[in-house]
């Protein structure tokens, strides 16, 4: 595995390796020395063509905890805003000795293009490309789901996938890279995926996805999901083009206090533990999720943030530790 571009092509084995590594990495933040020497002397470039302070900081923390040197390249105020091409920017960074390029871009496919090009030899990590994918977000969601499920079942999460789980993703699927990455990853890990959204916010062609589609959130909740993942609704969708009003959206697809009462009755598998509520953030409180739901004991939203660093450490470790066939039994 040279790059992490999407979850659609991510093998079950590699996904588990990332989750198992991340599981160990979560312990690092509780140590006195919150740093590992793994990537000492190596350079990770955060190449952000789109503002996302949260994701950039998460990647930066991950790289620094692995002792890598981190360079942040933000398109704002740089030569990119003066018309420099992606190619020239990347070649410049490559010349500076980047070992990994973490790229965030508003164009779907930008990470894949970079990986396929001869502009750089660096490992490429997709930190969100347009409305395509956001694989590390899906991985941290999967880590959160696995930990919740394992704890409820009193099992060791290590080596385990998400078989047996039913996950409901609610909201703006068509514009969501998080949703796409989750659909593929959760399926690869054996979970059953349900989507609930207005038809206008589901991509044409979604019927070919390995998911169950609901146009009613209430109907979807009756299927007793183990976890409910609410997606952010962008303000620009609310102008009447995709659904009539924000109020109607909240009434029909929001995790309101009334629906929270239903979700409180849901359980993780056959255990007594309550089902999980996730949101990739940032939240529109009162639109797709009520304040009470966001702050409920079932909410894993802050865990998701914490798991983001661990997952990104795992990804950087996996990509920058070059593999070659190694059969030695000792040492």
């Amino acid at each position: 595995m040279k790059h992490l571009l999407d979850t659609q092509a991510l093998a079950h084995r590699d996904a588990l390796a990332i989750l198992d590594t991340a599981e160990e990495m979560t312990a690092v933040s509780s140590r006195e020395v919150k740093k590992l020497p793994t990537l000492r002397g190596r350079t990770v470039v955060n190449l952000f063509f789109e503002d996302s302070t949260r994701t950039r900081i998460s990647f930066e923390a991950a790289a620094k905890r692995l002792s890598a040197d981190v360079m942040n390249f933000s398109a704002k105020g740089s030569s990119v805003s003066k018309g420099e091409s992606l190619k020239d920017t990347v070649q410049t960074l490559d010349a500076m000795g980047a070992d990994a390029i973490v790229i965030r871009h508003s164009a779907s496919g930008a990470a894949a293009q970079l990986a396929a090009s001869d502009w750089t030899d660096a490992a490429v990590v997709n930190a969100g490309d347009g409305t395509h994918e956001h694989p590390t977000q899906a991985l941290l969601d999967a880590l959160t789901l696995r930990r919740g499920w394992s704890r409820a079942h009193g099992e060791n999460p290590r080596g385990r996938n998400l078989a047996g789980m039913r996950v409901l993703i609610v909201g703006d699927i068509v514009h969501s890279r998080v949703a796409r990455s989750n659909v593929w990853l959760l399926r690869t890990l054996g979970a059953e995926v349900h989507l609930a959204a207005p038809a206008t916010l589901l991509p044409y062609g979604a019927e070919t996805w390995p998911v169950t589609i609901h146009y009613s959130l209430d109907e979807a909740l009756r299927e007793a999901p183990d976890a409910v993942m609410m997606l952010r609704v962008q303000a620009e969708r609310m102008g009447g083009a995709f659904f009539p009003t924000a109020a109607e959206y909240t009434r029909r697809w929001g995790l309101t206090d009334e629906r929270l009462a239903l979700v409180e009755q849901l359980r993780l598998g056959a255990t007594d533990s309550p089902a999980l509520i996730l949101h990739p953030g940032p939240m529109n409180r009162g639109v797709e999720i009520s304040a009470a739901a966001a702050d409920s004991p079932q909410s894993r939203i802050l865990d998701q943030v914490a798991h983001g660093v661990a997952v990104r450490m795992a990804v950087l470790h996996l990509l920058l530790s070059q593999r070659q066939p190694d059969g030695s039994l000792d040492e």
Binding site: E32, Q322, Q324, D330
Partner: protein, 187 residues
């Protein structure tokens, strides 16, 4: 169990058990009181060996707590050869809740070869605290050290050439019946 002609058994299950018993006695003799002792296995095969040593220590001296004082220390993220080998998934690190400061830590591994794993373990250990002393116990020392390190307790010295490989097959890791455990040289 059929073995390819290039494989030679150098320790049997009984040899392994005897060696661990002897090492347990040596550890007790070298240490004034086992109360401050921590036995810490290096994944993967060092971990079951550490657990067995812990059980033997408890049998010799009931002051030793084979649950609270036996742990594991993963060194994957501290290795200096990550770029030359397959990407490794780290194994769990579990150290006693009261920490390692001021205590004697015995690192346990199956095979001592270049010494690089032990070097990584020493680095890892220092990120968790400051032990009073660190000792090293290995089941097999096959020579060819690349660093100025030696083991304090050795189950068996096995001279090898660099082209040979040493295989330690343990019930917990390799899924064998206990009686079929062995150490082999693969040419």
């Amino acid at each position: 169990m059929t073995r390819s002609p290039e494989t030679a058994t150098v320790m049997t299950a009984a040899d392994i058990d005897r060696a661990l018993t002897r090492i347990a006695h040596e550890i007790v003799e070298a240490q004034r009181g086992v109360g401050e002792l921590i036995i810490c296995g290096i994944p993967r095969r060092g971990v079951p060996l550490a657990q067995r040593l812990g059980a033997k220590l408890a049998a010799i001296d009931p002051d030793f707590d084979p649950v609270a004082s036996v742990g594991s220390l993963d060194v994957t993220m501290y290795r200096d050869d990550l770029r030359n080998s397959a990407a490794r998934t780290p194994e769990p690190t579990q150290l006693p809740a009261r920490g390692i400061d001021g205590r004697t830590v015995v690192l346990v591994d199956d095979v001592l070869y270049s010494g690089r794993t032990v070097r990584a373990a020493l680095d890892a250990l220092s990120d968790y605290g400051r032990p009073q002393a660190v000792r090293l116990a290995v089941l097999v020392d096959r020579g060819h050290r690349e660093l100025p390190l030696r083991a304090d307790h050795v189950g068996k010295n096995i001279p090898t050439s660099r082209s040979e490989r040493v295989g330690v097959r343990l019930a917990e890791i390799d899924g064998l019946p206990a009686g079929e455990e062995q150490v082999v040289i693969i040419r």
